[in-house]
């Protein structure tokens, strides 16, 4: 197949990159349509950062081709650099300088006219909710604010293609949600985005297309729903403290999906597979249980994790070396008290 490059902001074909004996990328192919979001999902060591570094002109590929906005990353690196923004895995801002100074320096280094640099910095500070702290050294910022400033720094020159390498790793849940909001807003403005993540729920939340990467290869790809269907989708779970109401509870949630609820009588726990209708099903369940007057505890939506995806795709769990502080092996849950 030959791709026409006009519709795609990013095209990657047969990409290989090794570091000595370590084959970080062993033949990666994907294409990202203009204005869409590609989530690159994979455990630690899968090759995500290496891919991002090749795509952003920082590393020369051993073989294969990468075209960004019609320009080859090897032959036309300078043209690519004028069109991309990169926020790497660690925050690359100067902590001694203020948020405003950080952004203005980025603007100057992107060869923006001095007059427009100031306005652009002020606009980004406002948009990213850093305006109040704009003239304080960035080292006084919270982790979430530093991440937002880092992202803002990659946006000063209004890149049409943005690369975010694990934008929420290390953030607390609140900072994570704030980052998601900002990323959604960016995409709403038409920026093409490639983001890497270790969390399926994050890719699900933000990406139009997901490629699952392991050991330098794409092992699965598709829309978030296609992937989750492969995994079996979301699971709604709750406990009924009053054993005599257990049957009423099952009746109440039975119509939520095609699958019949399973009941563990011993623990009074009810489980319903709700496919990809997770949050709607959650709201619906609360409403129905409420209507039938059943009291529940620990009502929660279990979303499939990266591990579940791996299990479904490869038949084994992720094998990445455990990273200290990594949450990759925990199942994120979205729960509501009932």
């Amino acid at each position: 197949m030959t791709l026409t490059n006009t519709d795609f902001a990013i095209e990657v074909a047969a990409l290989h990159k090794s570091f000595g004996e370590v084959h970080a990328l062993r033949g990666i192919d994907f294409a990202v349509p203009r204005g869409s979001v590609l989530g690159m999902l994979g455990p630690n060591g899968a090759g995500k950062t290496t891919a991002v570094r090749v795509l952003t002109t920082l590393l020369r590929p051993d073989s294969g081709r990468v075209i960004i906005e019609g320009y080859d990353v090897v032959r036309d690196a300078a043209a690519v650099r004028r069109r991309i923004g990169l926020a790497g895995q660690s925050t690359a801002i100067q902590l001694e300088l203020t948020g405003r100074e950080n952004l203005e320096i980025m603007g100057r280094l992107n060869h923006m006219p001095r007059s427009s640099v100031r306005g652009r910095a002020a606009e980004l500070l406002e948009r990213f909710d850093i305006a109040d702290a704009a003239d304080r050294p960035a080292k006084t910022y919270s982790g979430g604010m530093q991440r937002r400033l880092d992202l803002a720094a990659s946006l000063v020159a209004e890149p049409s293609v943005l690369f975010l390498d694990e934008p929420t790793t290390g953030l607390d849940p609140y900072g994570r949600l704030g980052m998601w909001d900002i990323i959604r807003e960016l995409v709403g403005r038409g920026t093409t985005l490639l983001l890497t993540t270790q969390y399926l729920d994050e890719a699900d939340e933000l990406a139009n297309t997901i490629v699952v990467v392991d050991h330098g290869r794409v092992i699965a790809s598709g829309t978030p729903n296609q992937l989750k269907d492969q995994v079996g989708g979301d699971l709604l779970e709750f406990t009924v403290p009053d054993r005599s109401r257990l049957d009423d509870a099952v009746t109440a949630v039975a119509g939520l999906s095609d699958s019949t609820p399973t009941v563990e009588t011993e623990t009074r726990r009810v489980k319903v597979a709700v496919g990809n209708r997770g949050s709607t099903a959650l709201v619906e369940a609360v409403r129905r249980l409420d209507a039938s007057g059943v009291v529940t505890e620990n009502l929660a939506l279990h979303r499939p994790s990266l591990d579940d995806v791996f299990l479904a795709v490869t038949g084994h769990a992720t094998e990445a070396p455990p990273e200290i502080g990594s949450k990759a092996h925990k199942t994120p849950t979205a729960g509501v008290p009932s």
Partner: protein, 275 residues
């Protein structure tokens, strides 16, 4: 496998004059940024300014009495050129550490993924650090004057000494830039700096006449470049053999040029390979 058609976009390359303008303006933006960071952190200023001042006072008043110095003006005059050269060399610890941090924190990655001039990160670092060095040198000379040091060879000699000290500092800076970018780990960079900068500056004519050292050490001390530089600085500051005839001056210039020729390309190479 997917084949990709030839890119539809033709290459657009800015002209050489535009590239040169960007190289200069980007280097200046980086220079300003680096100086701003230095001024923001009191600890950096203390380390770079207060520490050499303490050295001046320590050697002048604590060790000075025990050291017999040749030449006129007493030990303080002998001491000052040595301290100035050492300070310039020590100032490059900060160069190595800053570049190592920028490499590990992804700052250099970000810069390299931007359309800015490729030379600007290193150039901005070297320019900012030589300005920083000059400020510190002038402060130390001021302190030296307060404790009895005097230039004895006129204004030209004084300026010559300062310029040579700067050139020496810039040469050491290029070595430190290479070390910082090649090693990248901040603590190792610091340790490595101690390993090469301490012996080179102390086992020299900086603080004591080489004749007082054991003979096996003299062989190294007499012939190593830091001694040559300090001897040349001393003769410019205090008066010695007339300018063009001073072999130490020519030998130092050759040494410094050699160091720059070797280490600037090495630093550039490791900058390109960061990551």
């Amino acid at each position: 496998m997917t084949a990709i058609a030839e890119p539809v976009n033709t290459r657009v390359r800015p002209g050489a004059a535009q590239m040169a303008r960007w190289a200069i303006s980007d280097s200046l933006v980086m220079t300003r940024r680096n100086l701003l960071v230095w001024l923001r952190v009191p600890a950096y200023i203390v380390f770079t300014v207060v520490q050499p001042v303490i050295f001046v006072l320590l050697f002048r008043y604590v060790f000075g009495g025990a050291i017999q110095a040749p030449g006129s003006g007493g030990y303080v005059s002998y001491l000052m050129p040595g301290i100035i050269a050492q300070t310039a060399a020590f100032a490059t610890f900060a160069t190595a550490i800053a570049l190592a941090q920028e490499a590990t924190k992804g700052v250099i990655d970000r810069f390299r993924a931007m359309p800015m001039a490729r030379s600007a990160v290193l150039a901005g670092r070297l320019i900012a650090d030589s300005i920083r060095m000059l400020i510190v040198i002038l402060v130390i000379i001021g302190v030296g004057y307060a404790v009895g040091f005097r230039f004895q060879n006129g204004v030209v000699g004084a300026i010559g000494m300062i310029l040579l000290a700067e050139a020496f500092g810039i040469a050491v800076c290029s070595v430190s830039a290479f070390v910082g970018l090649a090693i990248k780990d901040e603590e190792s960079v610091q340790a490595f700096g101690l390993i090469w900068i301490f012996p080179l500056t102390f086992v020299s004519s900086a603080f004591v006449p080489i004749a007082t050292m054991p003979s096996w050490l003299q062989v190294f001390a007499k012939n190593q470049p830091v001694t040559l530089v300090i001897d040349a600085m001393r003769s410019m500051a205090l008066g010695g053999p007339a300018f063009p005839l001073n072999p130490a001056l020519w030998e130092s210039i050759v040494w410094l040029a050699g160091v720059l020729i070797v280490f600037v390309p090495l630093a550039v190479r490791s900058y390109r390979r960061v990551g």
